[in-house]
């Protein structure tokens, strides 16, 4: 997974994201921000799902769905 664009994003705690290379901006919820932080830290999909379960006390099916959907959104916006 190419993470260079993700590493360059300016991400605010409010969930507002600005891409300094494209000028595009996005908003993300708390879960997506959590997943993006893990992606930036180099964690694998499985590690992120486990981290989500641990942090939010959610089941693994929900954590997996959230992780995959966030990754798909990032791919659709050419951010990874």
């Amino acid at each position: 997974m190419e993470l260079k664009k993700l590493q360059n994003l300016a991400i605010a705690d409010s969930g507002y994201i600005f891409d300094p290379a494209s000028g595009n901006s996005y908003t993300a919820n708390e879960t997506a921000l959590f997943i993006m932080a893990d992606l930036k830290a180099g964690k694998s999909t499985e590690e992120i799902i486990g981290h989500l379960c641990e942090e939010y006390e959610t089941d693994s099916a929900t954590a997996e769905s959230d992780t995959i959907r966030t990754i798909e959104q990032l791919q659709a916006n050419y951010l990874i």
């Binding site: 300016a10 600005f18 300094p20 290379a21 494209s22 000028g23 595009n24 050419y78």
Partner: protein, 357 residues
Amino acid sequence: MITVAMSGINAIDNPGPGTGIARSLKESDLEIRTIGLAYDSMEPGIFMDWVIDKSYILPWPSCDPKVYLERLSYIHDREQIDVIIPALDAELPLYMKLRPEIEAMGIKLLLPDIKTYMRRDKQNLVQLAPELGLLVPETLVMSSPADIVTAESMFGYPMMIKGPFYEAFKVRTRAEAEKEFYNMAAKWGYPIIAQQFIVGDEYDMIGLADGHGMDMGTMAIKKIMTTKLGKVWTNVAVRNDAIFEAARKFVTGLKWAGGYELELLQKAGTDEFYLIEINPRFPAWLYMAAGCGINLPERMVKHLLNMPYETHSDYEAGKMLIRYTGEMIRHISDFEQLTTLGESREKTDKTKNRQND
């Protein structure tokens, strides 16, 4: 005191860069008297006396060059101009032609020669871009509406129809293409350019170069909101290596002299940037660069007057420019002075518009 004259002070819905140049200079660390060179007594910049100290009406650039030069000479006699920054596409060839006479008066200019100027012309871009190592959309130079059929077979619809100097419209059918062809030809003359439409995001880069391949500063933006004519209304500063690289190729490859604007399009979903247009002067959103710490008119003046100047392109991505509309209230006598004498009143503390206080 340094006296700098600039044109393009038509701060209207299709704005020229002149008031942005004047404002940048007023905010520089130089003490500058700004002289507006106008072609119509209703150009708003004439009345914006917090950035333009005095304005003169000039004959149209299509007039006899001797007449134009006589008018410039008259203004120079009164103002002792150090630098002129011509800012309109239509007048640049005239300034290039009159350059020896203007420089003989002691006025400095930073302009390319006519050959270099023509190489970046819209109709020659398709030859130039590959030489610079840049991509360009498929383009057809048209002299007759019958050429639209050829453009259709080359790249189909939608396509862009562009005038020789200004304006570009996206068309979706042959009827629309013909309508814009005639509209554009009536307004700006020939040739009319048909260009492949590429889906993606538009970026603009402003810059200044010394004519020997030296980059004197650049800045890139993404257009967020535009007017119906495609003019920037809101933009955001971006930093993208591919855009900086395009500017470097242009400045070093063409040995450009003066201000410029590159219009680039990033094809959606790719890292490919296409060169859409090279404007041979500062764009109307020029003040954005000064506002972000890259004062290009100041650098140009310092360069021409052999003063030290900065060449960095350090600015923060994410800064935004937001245009707004405003009104001025002036007396009819100001207009009378312009129409009868062809020049504005000398600004005094009493008459000065306090718009910016």
